[in-house]
C-alpha cells in the first residue's frame, strides 16, 4: 500500500505518546471491534472508543494512560497492529486524524465502551472543538 499524501489543504491529527491509539486499515467492523475488545481485556485498558475514519478503516482510542514502553509492548503483541506500530515507532508518537482529509469526511464515533475519563476525554475534547474542520 502506497503512503497517501495530504493533497488538499491541511489535516489535523490528535497526537500522543502517553496512551494507545490504533489505526486499523482495510478491515471489517467486526474485526476492528474484536481487536479493540481483545486489547482492552488483555491489557486492562479501562475503555475504548471505536471510530470509523472511512470505508473499511477504523480508529481506536484507549482510555488508560501508558508509558511509551508499555505502548510498544501492547502494539507488538497483536499481529494486526504491527504495521501501524512500526510506522508510529519511527515517529515516536501516535497520531490519529480528527479532521477531513483529501475530500473524505472527518472520522465518526461508532462505539464507546468502558471508562472515558483519561485519554478518551482528551480525544473527545478536541474532536468536539474541531467539529467544523
Amino acid at each position: 500500500m502506497t503512503h497517501e499524501w495530504v493533497n488538499s489543504g491541511f489535516c489535523i491529527g490528535f497526537n500522543t505518546d502517553r496512551g494507545l491509539l490504533l489505526d486499523l486499515d482495510n478491515m471489517k467492523f467486526r474485526k476492528a471491534l474484536w481487536i479493540a475488545e481483545t486489547l482492552l481485556k488483555r491489557h486492562k485498558l479501562e475503555g475504548f472508543l471505536l471510530i470509523k475514519s472511512s470505508s473499511k478503516n477504523y480508529h481506536v482510542v484507549f482510555n488508560r494512560y501508558l508509558s511509551w514502553r508499555t505502548i510498544t509492548k501492547v502494539l507488538f503483541s497483536l499481529y494486526e497492529c504491527v504495521r501501524w506500530a512500526v510506522f508510529q515507532m519511527k515517529e515516536g508518537q501516535l497520531t490519529l486524524r480528527i479532521s477531513k482529509k483529501n475530500g473524505r469526511d472527518k472520522p465518526k464515533i461508532l462505539r464507546q465502551v468502558g471508562k472515558t475519563d483519561n485519554l478518551i476525554k482528551d480525544y473527545l475534547e478536541v474532536y468536539e472543538k474541531f467539529r467544523n474542520f
Binding site: H3, W5, N7, G13
Partner: protein, 95 residues
C-alpha cells in the same frame, strides 16, 4: 503513577516554502517521478513526494507542525493561527 500529560495536536499537509531555488522537475507519476526521452520512451523512475518542488519555482514542505495545548479552546485558537500563517496548497499526483 503521576505521569506528565502532554497534550498535542499535529497540523500536516503541503505548504509553500518561502524561498525559490533552481530545480529541474521530472515528470511525475502517482508518487513517482518518471523521466522519458524526447520521443516519450521510458528512461528512469524514482520515488516522488511533495517535499520536492511541484514546479520549477514552487517549493513545498510537508513537515508536520506540532501544537501544544492545555484546553480545547486554546487548541482551536492556536490551530487557527498556525493554519493562517501558511499557504496550504492542493496538488495532484495522478499517473
Amino acid at each position: 503513577m503521576n505521569m506528565a500529560r502532554k497534550k498535542q495536536l499535529k497540523v500536516y499537509g503541503t505548504r509553500i516554502r518561502g524561498h525559490r531555488e533552481r530545480w529541474v522537475v521530472k515528470g511525475k507519476g502517482r508518487y513517482f517521478w518518471v523521466r522519458r526521452d524526447s520521443k516519450g520512451r521510458f528512461l528512469a523512475y524514482g520515488k516522488w513526494s511533495p517535499k520536492e518542488p511541484l514546479e520549477k519555482t514552487l517549493f513545498t514542505e510537508t513537515e508536520p507542525l506540532i501544537i501544544e495545548y492545555e484546553r480545547g479552546k486554546e487548541a482551536l485558537r492556536k490551530v487557527r493561527e498556525v493554519v493562517r500563517e501558511w499557504e496550504w496548497i492542493d496538488f495532484e499526483a495522478e499517473s
